[in-house]
């Protein structure tokens, strides 16, 4: 429960200081988001003249429209919307496949243990902590051999493979605390491997399914390394497009368009975070500490 020793509960001055410090930090944390938003609604002239923190004098949606539909990324001048949909095409199958595999793995590793199950789990788990630089070179070659280099399909494969570790960890920890007696009872009742999974375990797994989906969604959506290493041009995900837009645009820098594009890239994960922050945090925690 909440602590312990509320700092000077009877001292109104200390209390006020406490709230002031916390509010100050909140302002610092919100500042970049605020500046991003405000800038994205300003005309460029206003940006060059005015104060970064000031609200726009003349609100405009033009930067958002440009970012979405007509900003130039490389030689293509059709905005980020195509890359946004690329990201969706990558995220949806990658999340579903890695989630399903993780659920099955967690089920087998807790309820159908075999000799060596700990080693198998350890090997799978370690895969989510490796620096991905170690696999960039061979992966680029394998994707080429499979003819899925520079495609969203290729990125789906990559994200599934390197997502299995975390999804397995989540489901394993969740199912480890699922009573074994239920599985035993179902076996006596005559249920087999898949029946036990789909009828007994899965209906009780909603919380961990939500955690896994949110975690995988955030990770895959926010990925940059795989996207920039294995795709270019049309098949790149949104993060790569955003970076190209911001860091290689020639001529006058359109800061307002950059900020609007950054917001487009940020909105999906922000929405998920605001709607299901509890599950987001739970994923973060079990991704770092045991569940």
């Amino acid at each position: 429960m909440s602590a312990a020793s509320p700092v000077a509960r009877r001292n109104p001055f200390a209390r006020a200081m406490l709230y002031a410090v916390l509010a100050g930090f909140a302002v610092i944390y919100l500042m970049p988001l605020y500046v991003m938003l405000v800038t994205s609604f300003k005309p460029l002239t206003e940006i060059h003249q005015g104060n970064m923190l000031a609200l726009p004098d003349a609100w405009t949606f033009a930067p958002w429209r440009e970012a979405w539909g007509s900003a130039c990324i490389g030689l293509e001048c059709s905005g980020v919307h195509g890359y946004f949909f690329n990201s969706i095409k990558i995220v949806v199958p990658a999340v579903l496949i890695s989630g399903l595999l993780g659920a099955f793995n967690g089920y087998v590793l807790t309820k159908w243990r075999f000799r060596g199950h700990k080693i198998v789990f350890g090997l799978i788990l370690f895969s989510c902590f490796i620096p991905f630089q170690i696999i960039l070179l061979p992966m680029a070659r394998v994707l080429g051999i499979l003819h899925i280099a520079n495609s969203t399909t290729g990125l789906v494969l990559v994200h599934v493979v390197y997502g299995i570790g975390f999804t397995t960890l989540f489901f394993r920890n969740f199912y480890a605390s699922f009573p074994d007696e239920l599985v035993r009872a179902a076996k006596l009742d005559g249920a087999g491997f898949f029946t036990i999974f789909f009828r007994i375990l899965l209906p009780s797994s909603i919380p961990i399914i939500v955690v896994t989906i949110i975690w995988q969604f955030t990770n895959v959506w926010n990925d940059f390394l795989f996207g920039v290493s294995f795709t270019s041009g049309d098949s790149a995900p949104i993060t790569v497009a955003l970076n190209n837009l911001v860091n290689s645009s020639t001529g006058v820098k359109a800061y307002n368009v950059n900020m609007a594009a950054a917001m487009v890239a940020a909105v999906p994960t922000l929405v998920v975070y605001i709607l299901a922050g509890k599950y987001f945090l739970r994923g973060l925690m079990s991704g770092s500490v045991k569940g």
Binding site: L182, R184, A185, R199, I200, S204
Partner: protein, 387 residues
């Protein structure tokens, strides 16, 4: 041929030897209770009967058929688990009917069977609820319903009452016993609670450290324990176990016990022939609290009563009885007296010992010292009567 025959069963987990050759046989309709302290291997044995644990060595036969390697679902066995193991996502009806569904019993037949089981256990009104909405006692009934509905050859219970509060536990105990009498089913029941074992069983198997200590009727295990462990484990308050010296006094064999600064000399009447060999040596004698009473409530018809005067240390009324603590053989012992008695600590009082119920054990091996004709390594033929 017995109905359930457990023959020389061993269980090893790697280096650890969990069960060291268990032999138990029971008949159809028997209620076998496996009882012992935690870690004695009783739950492992039950899981092996269910087919949920592999048998390392030995043979398991049900109704003549060897079932060692049969899949749990094909053994015609149902089990009630300690945690009840109700499927959280299914209704009560779904839980009870799941086993039948897995056996592809037609829906209408299934519904009728679930209804019958629910009526038997008086849970018809709960059929549409989820397990999360039930009380502990209701869950217990559903778990039993799930076992009953399949009408198996053998029921297994794994500490089914240990999660209930004291009052409910007694009620459910009675109910299980009634169910057994009504349906005549064969049951193997695991518990660490010796009162549950005494009240329910037709056969008790006392286990410790992976070994069977004694198998017999509740009365036999209670009155005629095979060793010091069984004597101390069964019964509450437990048997008084004190050191005594066997001597010959004027031709009679007696047990001499210290009692504070005094001594008490009790005649040996039971297992006399065997105790002859222990003359002038120390043994451990056991006397149940109800075998030490006030002289007026002593059972002089069936017993052999010997009286002695001892100091009262402590008086503990329980309502139904009055337990008096006194010193004997260097230990505090319990005597069960008449409730209305006006004894006070510090006072001296007369105690009546029913020496016909006194049993003796070897101090080193802790084995029972028994007359040869009544020796029964695992199961005595009849309840040993007083010699």
């Amino acid at each position: 041929m017995s109905f359930l025959h457990i023959h020389n069963i061993h269980k090893r987990f790697g280096e650890t030897h969990v069960l060291k050759g268990i032999d138990i046989a029971i008949e159809k309709g028997d209620f076998l209770v496996l009882v012992g302290p935690s870690g004695c291997g009783k739950s492992t044995l039950l899981n092996m009967i269910a087919g949920l644990d592999d048998i390392s060595e030995g043979e398991l036969r049900l109704d003549g058929e060897r079932i060692n390697d049969l899949h749990p679902s094909r053994r015609d066995i149902a089990m009630v688990f300690q945690s009840y193991a109700l499927y959280p996502s299914m209704t009560v009806a779904g839980n009870i009917g799941f086993g039948l569904e897995m056996r592809k019993v037609p829906k209408a037949e299934r519904r009728a069977a679930v209804q019958r089981a629910a009526e038997l256990l008086q849970i018809e009104n709960l059929l549409d609820r989820k397990p999360g909405q039930l009380s502990g006692g209701q869950r217990q009934r559903v778990a039993m319903g799930r076992a009953l509905v399949r009408e198996p050859q053998l029921f297994l219970f794994d500490e089914p009452l240990s999660n209930l509060d004291a009052k409910l536990r007694v009620d459910m105990r009675t109910e299980i016993k009634q169910l057994h009498q009504r349906l005549g089913t064969t049951i193997v029941y695991v518990t660490h609670d010796q009162i549950e074992a005494m009240t329910l069983a037709t056969r008790i198997a006392v286990m410790r450290g992976g070994e069977l200590q004694q198998l017999g009727t509740p009365q036999a295990v209670y009155d005629d324990p095979n060793n010091l462990f069984v004597a101390g484990f069964m019964g509450s308050p437990s048997m008084n176990l004190v050191t005594a010296r066997i001597e010959r006094l004027g031709g009679e064999l007696v047990a001499r016990l210290t009692a504070g600064s005094d001594e008490v000399v009790l005649p040996v009447v039971r297992d006399r022939a065997a105790l002859e060999a222990w003359c002038d040596r120390e043994v451990i004698v056991g006397l149940r609290p109800e075998a030490i009473t006030d002289p007026s409530s002593a059972n002089r018809q069936d017993g052999v009563i010997h009286e002695a005067e001892l100091a009262v240390d402590l008086v503990e009324p329980t309502g139904a009885d009055l337990y008096v603590v006194t010193q004997l053989g260097g230990r505090s012992i319990n005597a069960r007296m008449r409730p209305g008695s006006t004894l006070e600590p510090g006072q001296r009082a007369r105690f009546a010992f029913d020496v016909s119920r006194m049993v003796a054990f070897e101090p080193d091996s802790e084995h029972r010292i028994r007359n040869p004709e009544t020796v029964a390594p695992s199961e005595p033929a009849v309840v040993t009567s007083i010699s």
